[in-house]
């Protein structure tokens, strides 16, 4: 019965394949293995989501140790949703990675790269699937450590300082999380999340639980890169190899958002986090600042990768704004944007990687005339950009719509205006690129030289998905709404 073991296969397959990649030694074989594994992971994630939507939450006891003593993998609509996003991005980025990585890394590092990539994938999937708080920390460290390596591999030597900066900040974040988990263990004597949720109300008044929440929230927020804890992100994204930037931008911060949501809503419960502690008063202002300030900063970037990185911080603001509202509509807005932003930003970074491959630079002035020399990559960037702005028929529009609806439900006019104002700032930074790419003539002697198909197809899959989920929202919004209902305490 393979179906019953899907939760564990989701983790074990990439985990076992990672050292195997290193053992294979040669770049091409390692890539093939990683590719096969990432597609298998996507299949498993799809299977899990289908199972959850059909039968409700799945619980899997590791090694048959019954929870709450053993480690439990617990998959409800939210886990399955995040798993699907992570696995899908992994499966799309890997085919792309071969040419991109061959161009950016020396041959002897290729096998190591795929090993680190699979470990990172394992870690992110593990965080999303586990129902055990300490196990979550372990997977978080696996994904973080491997992502430091991945970022440090960047061609530019500044990648090393960027990775180091991320290492310091990420370690602080992870340490805060483990302190929080430790305090919870101290107060309740359990590490199983469902069990924690049941036991916390009895000790909710204690300082220990309050401190645990504080540590967990700050730690997760550091990994999310919510303003003002976003300092590590722009450099890390700007100097990492193209494929890594696309993968991490679309998955790592999203999984961190998941951690925060899981703890705030499932473990502590909305009644404690939002009614008693009024955390929204803390989250919403920072989200608003993130949207306005980081979108503005993005306008003034001349490195397009950095520009998109700042845009990511702003987009995280949208997700956190929705989640910070704490209502069912707000959470589904945050979650659906988590899904949509993964697709659009992944697609944008992939398109930028295509450009980097052929032009050798992602500085704004290097993009002149791309509309003619690389029409497909440039157009992919335009569509992705439109989605970031939130133009109708792209998934960004759906996110904005639900988010504005959520703010209006609360009568929060100012917030609705902030969301829309953020879109206008996005117009400004996206259109700077569009003007250079389409209205400035290409440098003399530049001929048409489109990126290879192995990179264009993945790019267009994500961009196409951004458009598809702007028209048919039954999967993206449907699951997000189910997850939001579960989180706010309604029936699944």
């Amino acid at each position: 019965m393979i179906a019953a073991h899907l939760p564990i296969l989701q983790i074990v397959v990439p985990l076992v394949a990672a050292p195997a990649c290193l053992a294979l030694g040669r770049g091409r074989a390692a890539w093939l293995l990683a590719l096969a594994v990432s597609w298998a992971a996507l299949g498993i994630a799809g299977g899990l989501l289908a199972t959850v939507l059909r039968d409700g939450p799945v619980s899997y006891a590791l090694g048959n140790w019954a929870p709450p003593w053993g480690i439990e993998y617990r998959v409800d609509a939210l886990n399955a949703y995040v798993l699907l996003i992570v696995a899908a991005i992994g499966a799309v980025v890997l085919p792309y990675a071969r040419r991109s990585i061959a161009d950016e890394l020396p041959a002897h590092q290729h096998a190591a790269f795929y090993t680190a990539f699979l470990l990172c994938l394992t870690g992110l999937l593990g965080v999303a699937i586990t129902g055990d708080a300490f196990n979550l920390f372990v997977f978080l460290e696996i994904s973080s450590l491997s992502s430091y390596v991945l970022i440090g591999l960047g061609r530019n030597r500044r990648a090393l300082t960027a990775a180091f900066q991320y290492l310091v900040m990420g370690t602080i974040g992870a340490t805060f999380i483990v302190i929080g988990i430790g305090l919870l263990y101290m107060a309740t004597g359990t590490l199983n999340m469902a069990d924690l949720a049941a036991r916390i109300p009895a000790v909710a008044h204690s300082r220990t639980v309050l401190a645990a929440l504080a540590f967990l929230a700050v730690g997760a927020t550091l990994k999310i890169a919510l303003f003002p804890l976003h300092g590590w992100l722009p450099n890390a994204y700007a100097y990492a190899p193209s494929a890594v930037t696309a993968f991490l931008a679309a998955t790592a911060t999203k999984v961190s958002v998941y951690i925060l949501v899981r703890f705030l809503f499932t473990v502590f419960g909305p009644a404690y986090s939002f009614e008693q502690l009024a955390l929204h008063n803390l989250i919403v202002p920072f989200a608003v600042i993130a949207i306005v300030v980081c979108s503005t900063v993005a306008i003034f970037q001349n490195n397009v990768k950095r520009m998109l990185a700042y845009s990511s911080v702003a987009q995280i603001g949208y997700m956190m704004l929705g989640i910070g509202l704490g209502t069912a509509t707000g959470i589904s807005a945050g979650l659906v944007h988590l899904f949509n932003h993964a697709l659009m930003k992944g697609g944008l970074f992939l398109a930028l990687g295509c450009i980097a491959l052929r032009v050798g630079s992602v500085r704004l002035e290097a993009l002149a005339g791309l509309g003619r020399t690389m029409p497909l990559s440039a157009f992919a960037f335009v569509i992705g950009g439109l989605s970031l702005i939130g133009v109708p028929l792209t998934n960004g529009f759906i996110s904005k719509w639900i988010l504005v609806q959520a703010t209006l439900e609360q009568g929060a006019w100012g917030l609705a205006l902030v969301v829309l104002f953020g879109s206008l700032l996005a117009v400004a930074y996206i259109w700077r690129v569009v003007e250079v790419a389409y209205l400035r003539p290409p440098p003399d002697g530049a001929r048409r030289r489109e990126a290879p198909l192995s990179m264009l197809i993945p790019t267009w899959i994500l961009i196409g998905a951004s458009v598809y989920f702007g028209i048919d929202t039954s999967l993206s919004l449907g699951v997000a709404e189910i997850a939001a209902r579960i989180l706010t305490g309604g029936a699944g």
């Binding site: 439109l386 702005i389 939130g390 133009v391 109708p392 028929l393 759906i398 904005k400 719509w401 639900i402 504005v404 609806q405 209006l408 439900e409 609705a416 205006l417 829309l420 104002f421 879109s423 206008l424 117009v427 259109w431 003007e435 389409y438 209205l439 702007g470 028209i471 048919d472 929202t473 039954s474 919004l477 709404e481």
Partner: protein, 498 residues
């Protein structure tokens, strides 16, 4: 063919045409044949829907549910029917004209031009047939984006600046204000369907209705209400066929069409009148109408003058909607048609003058009427229609607008409309009069080199036939509309007398 199939075809034909044009870009004649065939087929499909709609049918199709409870839906009602008819009909004429203009002026990137044009038409059809406010918004944005490459067609600094202004104003108003208004409406009313009598009545109080109407009126930047009109004169940097069909007909009419739709089907006349929400809108429209006319008089560049004239004429439609009486709204609807026919004629003439004589400034056009008599005759006819003198179509729309102002007991507006008509005469008629009656400048003053090409030395020299025929057709259209205005009246009457 069933009405549903016809709606599908109306949306698909221009879209498919865009693909066809892109594929046949290497063979200009085939490419233009694709455009023309698509335009004729589209008009045939739209026209075939008319009998059903006149008979009271409201055919609809639903594409897909984009958001829970919010499908992408198309419904053909009289106002949209009229708008689609105008846009698709004028696309045929404009395509002929484009061929003449683009080839004579040897414009670059012609394939991109025709592709974007076809996409813009597809978006226009979507706006015209949209069955709810969200569908309308989707195509409204598509129209903005598909016309951006047309505005920046020349690719120089001026075009770039114009493009920024164009996109900046249209996107920021639509995302910042209109989208907010739409989601607000959705939150209050729980539906966005265009419903006779409105969906907001009884759900919002007076001040809220006023604020909402403000968000809509300024959110629909394409209606070019002052002070958010600047994108329209800026867009005149585009090739003249774009100014003619898109920035005198499709894009700007999509704007005022949306305003009328919002007033008729979202607010409903009663709500607008009872809450007084329309009062300030009428005041802004009246101000725009007069100021734009005054500005137009100061412009020497012909296309700039026509652009400000468009701003002013669009305000007529908004004024009609804001008065919210049956006659006023009828007048507003008719004015969409009448102004389209008149203004496209004027732009065709401006383009023909540029093509044949390379003149853009009105002061340079003295005596040109004797060289290009047909062009300037057509210009005069178009101008008279805009002014509203019989026997031109514009007479009727202004008539109903004034009637509406009387009906609403707003005599001030009657005065405003009259003054504006006088201003129209002052800025439009002199263009033709100078061309016909003033002597041409002496070639000697320009230097000997210009002598062989002097206007009065070679007799008649009109623009190429592909430019000339369309402008004669549309000028004739202005006259025809005078005699067949009752058809438009009958088509539109159900929206004011449900």
């Amino acid at each position: 063919m069933s009405a549903q199939t016809l709606i599908w075809l109306s949306l698909l034909i221009p879209g498919l045409a865009a693909v066809g044009i892109a594929l046949t870009g290497r063979w200009p004649n085939v490419r233009e044949a694709v455009t023309l065939t698509a335009a004729v087929l589209l008009f045939a499909c739209v026209a075939a829907l008319v009998p059903d709609v006149v008979a009271g049918g409201r055919p609809d199709v639903t594409l897909i549910e984009m958001l829970p409870g919010l499908p992408m839906r198309f419904v053909v009602e009289p106002l949209g029917m009229l708008f689609a008819l105008i846009a698709s009909g004028l696309w045929i004429i404009n395509s002929l004209y484009s061929i003449g203009y683009m080839r004579s002026n040897a414009e670059a990137h012609q394939t991109r031009f025709y592709v974007c044009f076809a996409i813009a038409l597809a978006s226009t059809m979507g706006v015209a047939f949209a069955g709810n406010m969200m569908t309308l918004f989707v195509f409204y944005e598509a129209l903005t984006l598909s016309t951006y490459p047309l505005v920046t067609h020349k690719g120089n600094e001026e075009a770039k600046r114009a493009g920024r202004l164009y996109l900046g104003i249209l996107l920021s108003t639509s995302i910042g204000l209109q989208l907010l208004a739409i989601v607000w409406t959705w939150a209050v009313a729980g539906t966005l369907d265009f419903t006779a009598g409105g969906i907001l009545s009884g759900r919002v109080s007076g001040p809220v209705a006023g604020v909402l109407l403000l968000l809509y009126a300024y959110g629909i930047g394409k209606a070019a209400l002052m002070p958010l009109h600047r994108w329209l004169p800026a867009a005149m940097v585009a090739p003249t066929p774009v100014s003619a069909l898109l920035h005198a007909v499709a894009v700007v009419k999509a704007g005022v069409f949306t305003v009328v739709k919002v007033v008729v089907y979202i607010f409903g006349f009663d709500l607008i009148r009872e809450t007084g929400a329309g009062d300030w809108l009428a005041a802004i429209a009246a101000a725009t109408l007069l100021i734009a006319s005054l500005v137009a008089m100061t412009k020497d560049n012909l296309k700039a003058r026509l652009a400000y004239s468009t701003v002013s004429q669009l305000a007529y439609v908004v004024l009609g909607a804001a008065l919210a009486t049956p006659a006023a709204v009828l007048g507003a609807g008719m004015h969409i048609a009448m102004h389209a026919m008149g203004k496209i004629t004027l732009f065709f003439c401006a383009g023909a003058i540029y093509t044949a004589a390379h003149k853009t400034e009105i002061s340079e056009m003295a005596g040109l009427g004797r060289v290009m008599p047909l062009t300037f005759a057509a210009f005069l006819i178009g101008a008279l229609s805009i002014i509203g003198l019989p026997p031109m179509g514009g007479t009727w729309s202004k008539w109903y607008l004034m009637l509406g102002a009387v009906e609403a007991d707003r005599l001030v507006m009657v005065v405003v409309l009259m003054i504006s008509s006088l201003l129209n005469i002052a800025y439009l008629v002199p263009v033709a009069a100078r061309a016909f009656f003033l002597p041409a400048p002496r070639p000697a003053a320009l230097g000997a080199a210009a002598a062989p090409a002097a206007p009065d030395s070679g007799g008649i020299r009109e623009a190429p036939l592909f430019c000339l025929i369309p402008l004669c057709l549309s000028a004739a259209g202005c006259i025809v509309l005078f005699f067949y205005a009752d058809a438009i009246y009958d088509l539109l009457r159900p929206i004011v007398q449900p």
